[in-house]
């Protein structure tokens, strides 16, 4: 398994510093969220981890080794780590779906047949089969997001960095997206998702990285999101299951030593147990 990390990372100069002396280690889980307010540097961090953006200072670590920016080392990194941008229009540039997805596999040096097999595989995983011959500009926003992810998945990365994959999706679209991420995880891919949906983060991820004010905190998602000092420093809010139980504990309606709930079912169970 591949682990990513960063040591003394700094991006930007003078008044425009986004990340400042950031040291993190993404170990201990395969469902990661990167949380933070707008402008906290979530996207920047993912770009740096993916190798797309070179930090002003500091290093990206892969399996503990600093990433080199020589073309060959970078290409090697990109075989392992893929990033999907928030806006698929920043990423898709071919006329039709299948052509776009095949771009990466062909660049890996695969034969056209093998590349097509990768396209089939990615389309199946992302449930895009019915869309593969459609021009990209005819697709809806959610469909384009899936195509952009398919283009990254077709490279069979071990780590997939997703920037706000659920932004702009409706409830059904979010469920579909989480289903896709479940399937990816079953295949052994580590998924790192930047988001500011704290409810989703609590329900989906096991590990969280919170960025804000130039620094970062890493830990178990439930623990991190229960910590009001982290939450308020990062200008986030507590997910509703945690906020609700905290308020119920304050009101004496729940004992203070219960298990922190992650989903609605957990909340119902907590109240039922009482």
């Amino acid at each position: 398994m591949v682990t990513l990390g960063a040591r003394g990372l700094r991006v930007g100069y003078d008044r425009g510093t986004v990340l400042d002396d950031l040291t993190v280690d993404l170990t201990g889980g395969t469902r990661w969220v990167v949380l933070g307010a707008n402008g906290s540097g979530k996207t920047t961090l993912l770009s740096v981890l993916s190798g797309a953006l070179r930090p002003t200072a500091g290093q990206v670590l892969r399996n503990g080794q600093p990433l080199s920016y020589r073309p060959r080392a970078l290409a090697e990194h990109r075989r392992v780590v893929q990033m999907v941008l928030q806006d698929p229009d920043d990423q898709l540039f071919s006329a039709d779906v299948a052509a776009d997805i095949s771009f990466g596999p062909l660049n890996l040096g695969l034969s056209p047949d093998d590349a097509l097999a990768r396209v089939d595989e990615a389309c199946a995983l992302l449930t895009l089969d019915h869309l593969r011959d459609r021009p990209v500009h005819q697709l809806s926003g959610g469909e384009r997001k899936r195509v952009a992810i398919a283009g990254a998945v077709a490279m069979r990365p071990q780590v997939l960095l997703l920037d706000e994959p659920t932004a702009g999706l409706d409830p059904e679209g979010i469920d579909d997206m989480l289903g896709v991420l479940d399937r990816l995880e079953e295949q052994g891919t580590t998924v790192v998702m930047a988001t500011h949906d704290v409810d989703l983060a609590l329900a989906w991820s096991t590990r969280a990285l919170v960025v804000g004010g130039g620094t970062a905190r890493v830990g178990d998602t439930t623990e991190i999101l229960s910590d009001t000092s982290v939450i308020s420093a990062a200008r986030l809010r507590r997910p509703w299951p945690l906020e609700l139980t905290a308020r119920l504990i304050d009101a004496g309606l729940l004992p203070a030593d219960g298990q922190a709930p992650r989903t609605m079912a957990d909340v119902v169970a907590l109240l039922d147990d009482r």
Partner: protein, 255 residues
């Protein structure tokens, strides 16, 4: 694209609220001295004055100013190099240094040195204006010169949209690089070409959507806006005139 250093400096400038004409008088006055007076002492004086005005008077942050002049300085150096060398196949002149038909002569070096001074002085004079005046203010200022509104509007839209398209082009390029689209020469060509065509299509689309967006705001053919008045400052005008005149006198005076 990163916001260019000059654009960043211009919007944050202490001189932002100054009248564009006032600032243009100072910068363009120094520019004229820089390119037309004898390079010593005129050009050098104009350059020094432009640097001092930018850093001391307008207080452009030194770091941003240095970033802004770094690239053009390289261009000046390359251009000057071309002037400094001479082609001399007959080997007839006294050369300081020669290899094959390429020779470096004393007159050539003198001209090159002159050009360094003139080029740097002229560039810093332009930078003085560019680092204190956002493009939108300059374009608004051009309206005064009776340039048709249509032309100003097209230029202003170009300015607004180039940042959008540059950001998209940068993202597209990085995303393709991430999918190993730039590891070979042919890959780099394919990627550059497709990024260009994609940006073109998105540009077309953006123009169409902006048209719809503006229609709702009452757009009927003119992109009229108001900006707060920026009155002339008599003290500034006097100081600018004195500085430019002093530089010019210094520049042309037969020392």
């Amino acid at each position: 694209m990163h916001q260019p250093a000059l654009d960043r400096a211009a919007w944050a400038s202490r001189w932002r609220t100054r009248n564009v004409g006032d600032k243009a008088l100072l910068s363009l006055g120094l520019l004229i001295v820089a390119v037309s007076a004898p390079v010593w002492p005129g050009g050098v004086a104009a350059g020094a004055m432009a640097v001092a005005c930018a850093l001391v008077w307008a207080r452009v942050p030194v770091g941003i100013w240095a970033r802004a002049v770094a690239a053009p300085t390289v261009f000046i150096a390359v251009g000057v190099l071309a002037v400094a060398i001479s082609l001399d196949t007959s080997r007839s002149v006294d050369a300081v240094w020669r290899t094959g038909p390429i020779a470096i002569t004393t007159p050539g070096l003198v001209r090159a040195a002159e050009l360094v001074g003139r080029g740097f002085a002229g560039m810093t004079a332009v930078v003085l204006l560019a680092a204190t005046t956002p493009m939108v203010d300059l374009l608004t200022g051009l309206r005064r010169l009776r340039i048709p509104d249509e032309l100003i509007e097209v230029a202003a839209l170009t300015y607004r949209m180039l940042f959008l398209f540059a950001a998209t082009a940068g993202s597209l390029h990085r995303a393709q690089a991430a999918r190993l689209g730039t590891t070979t020469l042919s890959g780099r060509f394919q990627t550059a070409g497709r990024v260009a065509s994609r940006v073109f299509v998105l540009a077309w689309d953006r123009a169409r959507r902006l048209e719809a967006g503006l229609a709702g705001r009452g757009y009927t053919g003119a992109l009229r806006t108001v900006t707060p008045p920026r009155p002339h400052s008599m003290p500034f005008l006097i100081a600018a005139t004195l500085l430019v005149t002093a530089t010019a006198v210094l520049g042309w005076f037969p020392w």
